[in-house]
Amino acid sequence: MNGMDRQLRDLLAAAAGDPPHRVSAAAVRRRVIRRRVAELAAGAVAVAAVAVLIPVGIGALGHGPGRPNRGPAAAGVFTSRQYRYTEKLPPAWRLARPATRRWDGTGGPGYDRPVVDLFQGPGSLQAWADAAPTHKSLAAYTSATIRASRAAHPCAPPHTDQAITIGGAPARLLTMTCPAGSGFLVEIAVTVHHGTAFVFASQHQPGTPVHKPADRAAFRTFLAGIRLHQ
């Protein structure tokens, strides 16, 4: 290691400092166990789905075309277990993963966090939803959401800020580029209903054409399916 390398190493060491928390083997084990439980649950759901679909498929083969589809009436309706809303899923939308715990209202949870209900739309479009109690007005909560997104990701100021309604409640629909200049456009819809702020967001998978008009329309269709509970 030469002098330059040593200087660099000292600088890297000084910058890294000390971690604020310890990583323990127990925490790692808990995470492995949680992952295995989730995998088992997913496997069980897949087996159950196959068990349901095979008889349905066999039944369909036994009947002529034109037989009405008598699937469960609520198959396209998702009621959030963590948050007080229901989504009537438009065609081509499905639930990808429900939230497994509630959002505490801090930060800007992304699609990959366990606090969001994640939905898969047409193509690579995804949407996610979370909610938290608030005393703020819609305008104040929207400003707070913009500030949080700009600080955390960091997003450029919103390109558009439209007044819309979600489930009949006044809402704002923001379009932002995050990080600024990256070309990744994110749409965030915010509403405050009976003391709860709801945040619905959509964004593309990397590498896909950025925010096609069809995708924006698909997200609006998704928003139109939302019903906020009393």
Binding site: G17, P19, R22, R113
Partner: protein, 170 residues
């Protein structure tokens, strides 16, 4: 917990701080660094016995860490990033100067490509021999050498970092 489990716990106990510091230099964020180390250890734990028997656990875990980090970088930006937080118990010393070093180094590292950053951190900060860095990154030792040279050249050309290094030598 079996003998392999005890070995795992000992490894985590002994190496978690070093792994987290490496992870911070890769991610620039303590929350992500902790998550990255945990992710690498979660991948390693189920096959710990085999790793211990066939490989060097340190190499295996670091490889898992670098691969996870590379895959995170390919993901969308919108994965939650924790904001910079004030430490619970501030250390003594010049906090402003420490923060300035941290930010400058972070920005300088951010100007490198992912591979350059990984090579620099593993080779210079962790002091791994070129052959081991090559093992971790699954490339030839010559590639490590060339990548490191490019990374160091780029950092040397960074005036803010040069200023800090000049200050260290004075």
């Amino acid at each position: 917990m079996g003998a392999e489990g005890e070995g795992f716990a000992q490894f985590v106990e002994a190496r978690q701080r070093a792994l987290q510091r490496t992870a911070w230099l890769l991610t620039g964020d303590w929350a992500l660094a902790e998550d990255l180390v945990q992710t690498a250890l979660v991948r390693s734990w189920p096959r710990w016995e085999r790793i211990n028997r066939r490989d060097d656990p340190e190499i295996y875990v670091r490889r898992a860490m670098v691969n996870s980090w590379a895959s995170w970088r390919r993901r969308r930006w919108w994965g939650e990033r924790a904001a910079e937080t004030v430490p619970d118990s501030p250390a003594a010393g010049d906090l402003a100067a420490e923060a300035a070093v941290r930010v400058t180094v972070q920005r300088a590292l951010g100007s490198l490509t992912a591979r350059q950053r990984a090579v620099l951190v593993l080779r210079v900060f962790d002091d791994l021999p070129e052959a081991q860095v090559a093992q971790v990154l699954d490339c030839a030792p010559g590639t490590v050498k060339a990548t490191l040279a490019r990374a160091v050249d780029r950092l040397r050309a960074d005036p803010r970092l040069a200023g800090l290094m000049d200050r260290e030598t004075q």
